[in-house]
């Protein structure tokens, strides 16, 4: 009787391992498809609390997502530049401000838009659907998508900040501007990522 029990245990153990392995393969498959080749739903919420997919309403145009936070000082210092870029590329790219902090209410965001003279449309990304789609980790961070919704660039706006509290007098590289211009022109973007400096989105729970 002893022998069969041991063999049964072994059997169970092996099957547990195989389950884990199959999970692993599925995960890898998802990661490999991080660049969506077909439209996918990315629901956020506008400031009236209505669900809104920025890709659905910006169809056939370059989409720029700008991840910001009302209380992130680095993200706030970028406000004049972000507003200026949205004006420069008006008609050629659609800009969205994305607020990933679930704790920031629509009315706080409205005040923030007024204070910082933003006229860019704002979204609350409470489920972090846009955070995931843009692979955003930080505020401020930008993501540029082509007209089919394919992620072309994500990361820092420029190299103004080197680290927290350590900034250049002025940026010397302009990753976001270059990425938007390339996306509009249909040119490839290299590199397609540069680490942003700011407040970590993963700190928001």
């Amino acid at each position: 009787m002893f022998q069969p029990r041991q063999s049964r245990t072994e059997q169970t153990h092996r099957s547990a391992l195989s389950v884990t392995l199959s999970v692993l393969i599925v995960v890898c498959a998802i990661v490999a498809h991080a660049r969506p080749r077909f439209p996918q739903k990315s629901m956020a919420e506008n400031l009236h609390g209505k669900p809104l997919d920025p890709f659905a309403v910006s169809a056939n145009r370059v989409v720029v997502l700008l991840f910001v936070r009302t209380d992130c000082p680095i993200s706030n210092r970028y406000a004049p530049l972000l507003q200026k870029l949205s004006e420069e590329f008006r008609g050629r790219a659609v800009f969205w401000l994305v607020y990933p902090d679930r704790a920031e209410t629509a009315s706080q965001i409205k005040t923030h838009l007024q204070d910082y003279h933003y006229s860019i449309a704002a979204l609350r990304d409470t489920d972090h659907a846009l955070v995931r789609r843009a692979q955003a980790t930080t505020t401020p961070e930008a993501a540029v998508f082509d007209s089919s919704g394919l992620l072309l660039y994500h990361g820092r706006i420029d190299n103004w900040y080197e680290d927290f509290g350590r900034s250049r007098p002025a940026a010397t590289t302009h990753e976001l501007t270059d990425a938007i211009a390339s996306a509009i022109a249909g040119k490839p973007i290299h590199p397609d990522h540069a680490n942003a400096v700011g407040c970590y989105i993963s700190d928001l729970k």
């Binding site: 547990a16 884990t20 999970v23 692993l24 995960v27 890898c28 990661v31 490999a32 991080a34 660049r35 209380d71 992130c72 000082p73 706030n76 210092r77 970028y78 406000a79 004049p80 530049l81 704790a103 204070d115 910082y116 003279h117 692979q135 994500h154 080197e162 680290d163 927290f164 509290g165 350590r166 900034s167 250049r168 007098p169 002025a170 010397t172 590199p191 397609d192 990522h193 407040c199 970590y200 993963s202 700190d203 928001l204 729970k205």
Partner: protein, 610 residues
Amino acid sequence: MKRTAAGQSFIICATSSLIFIVATLYASGPGAAKSANAQNSALTTFTRDIAPIVFRSCAPCHHPGEAGPFSLVTYGDAKSHARQIADVTRKRLMPPWLPSADGLLFAEDVHLSEQDIAQFQKWLDDGLREGDLADLPPVPKFSSTWQLGQPDLVLHAAAPYTIPASGSDVYWNFIFRSPLHSSRFIKAIEIHPGDKRLVHHANLLVDRTQSARRQEESPGSGFASMELQIESESFDPDGHFLFWKPGSPPIVEPPGLALRLDPENDLVLNTHLQPSGKPESVQPTIGIYFTNEPATRFPVLLQIENDRALNIPAGDSNFIVSDAFTLPENVQLLALYPHAHYLCRDMLATARLPDGTEKTLIHIPRWDLNWQAVFRLAQSEPLPRGTTIVMRYRYDNSSDNIANPNNPPQRVTAGNRAVDEMAHLWLQVLPDPQPGQQRDPRMVLQESLARHHIENNPTDFEAHYNLAAMLQARGASDEAVLHYQSALELRPGDAVVENALGAALLSSGKIPGAIKHLSVATAVRPDYFDAHYNLGIALATAEEFARAAQEFAAAAKLKPEDSGAEANLGAAFAELGQNEQAIAHFRRALQLDPKNQLARENLDALQKAP
């Protein structure tokens, strides 16, 4: 795609740790519960392990109304910035503390220990647990108004300054007019710079001659300038640092130390402001606390510098500037204020004592202008006469220095603008005079320092001017004249120097020279009271009473409350035989100051005259 690869390895990692946990539970059997408990007590929690560090080292700036951009006073606050906290403490960007541990011990040292830094990392790794509320230390209470209580005098900047939404940092100066009618001694000043998120630091200076007002476009408007130059026409070292940086408490001077404030003095607040992304208005307030105890001990500020050596080629990443000054007096070192602009990377100040030992006073291995500060010693440090203070600053003018204001790098020399450089080390010292010493030890220190500066840099205008002023004050007029002349060669036509040189010539009896220089001073600055007054004296000494009367009249018009100008004007009229006018001015002088000796004696003489 780099991010994809990273994301992939992260997920695999998480999966394999899942396997590991399952395997552990399988293996451990009945012992599992016990071992998990032991692990729990070792887990870092907010209430027991994190709150003591956060309350002590973060919350003083990170609470509502303070400089920190977000609050760190609750579990929720800390949790929602946990990764950032672990990151900035590991990189030693926060709390901002520039000196390394190899120098003296400073009063406000906020640097974190390695253990503290490790705790933040461990808290993150352990899952950001709150812990047992019973472990929570008392939550610190912060005053939202005056930290030292209601001040005796509150002064508001006359006008707010609006910081633009974007652009480079701004250096703005606010002038506070003193409403005092008699001299008072100040025990403490609390600086409220306005919205503290916008103000990096602020430095308050006493302007005894209202010299900064001339830089204002209109009275009260304030003016832009990174560095402040305050004129002083007499030997009157203030000896106090009045510095504000985020989170620093106001300093109450120890017994015997106090700062004198006279009527008509201005207080000038030099602020370093940073655009926030939206237009912001800043209007500072200062609270002054007086004491009835006059100062009995007088510290002095010594500025060691070698700006002349600053000539940094573009691209040079290792440019060294040094200076060494030997103290002519015994002193107690109270505080240090190292200062440079954006190219400086490393600052070292050492003391070579007469017995040959060497001591690091302060070492800043990663200078950052944004966190400049006055570093007060935890305990004063005796530096005997003959000690040599050595400063050695390293500058990086390559494009690797991200703070470099020039892109591409340019050759940089000394100057007051943000794109220029500086190599300054200020020391606040309290002289420890020898018993029976005659001369004011502050004067000995400053004179020796001025001579040192001239040796370093014969074209140092301030050093020549200051040395001359000190020589003049101790009656060495002939040597004073030489240094005023050197200063004037460096700034021809400078009204203040022309006036001082004229006054020195006047007191050494060289009247024609005095008249020449004082006339230039009045021509350059027609509203210069002192120059008109001195010119009047010089002309009267040369017996040119009609012209003297004109100058005294001009002086009296500029300062109608000055009894000296009125009395001298009366004397000039008396010399001209215009007795009625003379009597009127003597009476006016006595109205202004009943104790005016000149007016009293002359009036008596005129009224007794037949």
